[in-house]
Amino acid sequence: ARSLQATRSTYSVDDKATPFEDVTTYNNFYEFGLGKDDPSEKSGAFKPLPWTIQVDGMVAKPGTFDIDQLIKSFPVEERIYRMRCVEAWSMVIPWDGFPLASLLDKVEPLGSAKYVAFETVVRPSEMPGQSGLFQSLPWPYVEGLRLDEARHPLTLLAVGLYGQTLPNQNGAPIRLVVPWKYGFKGIKSIVRITLTDKQPKNTWQVVNPTEYGFYANVNPAVDHPRWSQATERPIGEGGFFGASRRPTLPFNGYADEVASLYSGMDLGKYF
């Protein structure tokens, strides 16, 4: 990992950051395996450089962008965000990145564009979870946001964490971070971003539509069918007798910034 020059952003929480060791060894990244330690242990062969992202669809200026060019052309900010996994655990992570809106501005979305679709790289030779007998998910992993969600200043394209470029297990070289949504919305190792007028599919909704929706906003009042979302287990707080469960906040604590995006919507129906 190379070090990144980042300026501290005001979009940061005061919570104590989860240790680097835990942020980089406790991961869900099924392209490398189903275990939490698989991504850190089995991503050694993955080559995040060179890397380009294709941005296309309903835009005036589609293009293919080199990751190093992106890091140079946008000021990289450090943002300490809460992260809440749909599995009811949580972290606090100092990301380095730039707003997705900056990249969207560059390609000039057309008035007809309503949604943004994302796609992860497919490289079975470098990602052991994408080959073999038991394929956990259909590839590529896909995600989507409404255009106003994508343009929200909190929505980040992260290129690093803890002041260094992203480790492979955390979605190198570039990934999405949407702090008020469950972690699975934060698609990793992005190769393509497409502006569209139709609500894009997201992998977990395709695999299990009764348990995972398009919106996936963190919501303590709407339980996952198989577990409660009312509380969460903070990661990296020591052994058995470290911090215990704490209450989960609506929109993961970002309600003041984002609740207005969903005014009038039934969040139990659009989960």
Binding site: E21, D22, T25, Y26, Y30, L34, K36, D37, E87, W89, L133, F134, S136, L137, W204, V207, N208, D223, P225, R226, W227, S228, A230, T231, R233, I235, G236, G238, G239, F240, F241, G242, S244, R245
Partner: protein
């Protein structure tokens, strides 16, 4: 010489059962030590909870494997079956205790809501409750006292094994090779009983008889 050897073997039998209990409880003790000293990774409570649940499942598989192994010409480990069954019960109990105390911090409303509303937790809880009468009647006194009813009661283990397998499979977001492995083992062990029950009763008396050795 042969007499001497069998004498030693006989004297060692009760000790070997106790050694099985000690060895069987080692994974729990080791996991607890790692967790209590902060060496069980980023999510120690969940890791320990899963560790105990997985060992419970392993002991259920081993318990169910004893009689097919003997019937199919393998070693006769029937004297260890009670210990294997009780070890599964102890692991299920510890698995539940960790969920109750370390995971849910003894908040009764959260636990009750889970048991009532989450099918996979309901199934796991049912397996635990069904194990209680089996554990309570695992002593030689109950075996003699209950006679034929003891065998009938202890057939509940097949229901428990099925519930445990479902609980395991439904607890995750996607099924991994590990799930297919244990579900496959349970399916084979239960299917063996079904096939055996369809065959003529010749030679089955011995298999059905409760065993009160030691």
């Amino acid at each position: 010489m042969a007499l001497l050897r069998s004498g030693i073997a006989r004297r060692w039998r009760p000790a070997s059962v106790w050694m099985l209990y000690v060895a069987g409880l080692l994974p729990a003790a080791w996991g607890f030590y790692l967790g209590a000293t902060g060496n069980l990774g980023a999510d120690p409570v969940k890791t320990f909870e899963h560790h105990l649940g997985l060992w419970a499942l392993r002991f259920i598989v081993l318990t169910l494997a004893v009689s097919p192994l003997r019937d199919l010409g393998g070693p006769n480990l029937i004297r260890y079956r009670r210990a294997l069954g009780l070890l599964s019960f102890y692991y299920v109990l510890m698995h539940f205790a960790v969920y109750l105390v370390l995971d849910q911090a003894l908040v009764p409303s959260a636990v009750l809501a889970d048991i009532v509303k989450r099918p996979f937790i309901t199934l796991g809880m049912a397996a635990l409750l069904l194990l209680v009468p089996l554990a309570l009647t695992s002593n030689s006194f109950s075996i003699k006292r209950l006679g034929r009813n003891w065998s009938r009661l202890h057939r509940l283990v097949y229901v428990i094994a099925g519930l445990a397998g479902l609980h395991f499979a439904l607890s995750t977001k996607v099924l991994a090779a590990e799930h297919y492995f244990y579900l496959g083992l349970l399916a084979v062990l239960i299917a063996y009983r079904i096939v055996r029950s369809l065959q003529p009763r010749r030679g089955r008396r011995r298999a059905m008889q409760p065993v009160a050795t030691e």
